[in-house]
Symmetry: C2
Subunit: 137 residues, 2 copies
């Protein structure tokens, strides 16, 4: 087992722990984008967000909010990003699911906004047909 | 009430709906970062992630995963980002909480990685003390 986040979850590798419970562990990113940048990981190894079991997903997002609220109360950032990257194309650097909480300061320029595009309405209609999840609503 | 996402949630303004349930609505971003870029919003108006009530938070993250799985199954992207921005400093452009699901293609360069920093251990120790959430673990 060579996953660094599994080793952190098991205690084999130390971390600056902020919070943990049955399913989830949160700790400081040691190479933060900004002061107070925290990670929230599942203790169980899942590679990506879509792989997470429902019970663990609920624990995970509750822990993200708990830690995010603590950061807001203690550090009072101007804003914050909740970010989860999946796949190397999306900037995932450790193949074990994790959420970033990145405190932001006005004008810090840490993360640039993406360039919006303007697809044709027909392209959006086609996509809507493909992605629509029917549940009676 | 002038919030555009409240108007979309109420049906006053149309959207390319993908999914909805009691608490949550998902639709295509009409100015997407990439093909298949979807938004997931709460029907109730909350400005930021930390404001969301627990029951709604659970519905929201389950819907994010449902839509993300649908995107993965239908479009087969190389990767995907789950992103929630809070505050103008963090790139939040509509002051009603929303999650972005952004499908990614290797090398698309849509979102650049942030620059990691290397704070002193003592700074991280100090932050850990301030942010630590004690729950018996």
């Amino acid at each position: 087992m060579s996953c660094i986040f599994c080793k952190i979850a098991s205690g084999e590798i130390p971390c600056k722990k902020i919070y943990d419970d049955q399913h989830v562990l949160s700790f400081l990113d040691i190479n933060p984008a900004s002061k107070g940048h925290c990670l929230v990981i599942t203790k169980k190894h899942y590679e990506k967000f879509n792989d997470i079991d429902p019970e663990v997903l609920v624990s995970l997002i509750k822990a993200v909010q708990l830690v995010s609220k603590k950061i807001e109360a203690e550090l009072g950032p101007d804003g914050y990003n909740i970010i989860n990257n999946n796949g190397s194309s999306a900037g995932q650097t450790v193949a074990h699911v994790h959420f970033h909480i990145v405190p932001r300061t006005e004008g810090d320029g840490i993360i640039q906004p993406w360039e919006p595009t303007s697809p044709e309405g027909s392209e959006l209609d086609e996509l809507q047909k493909r992605l629509r999840i029917e549940n009676g609503n």
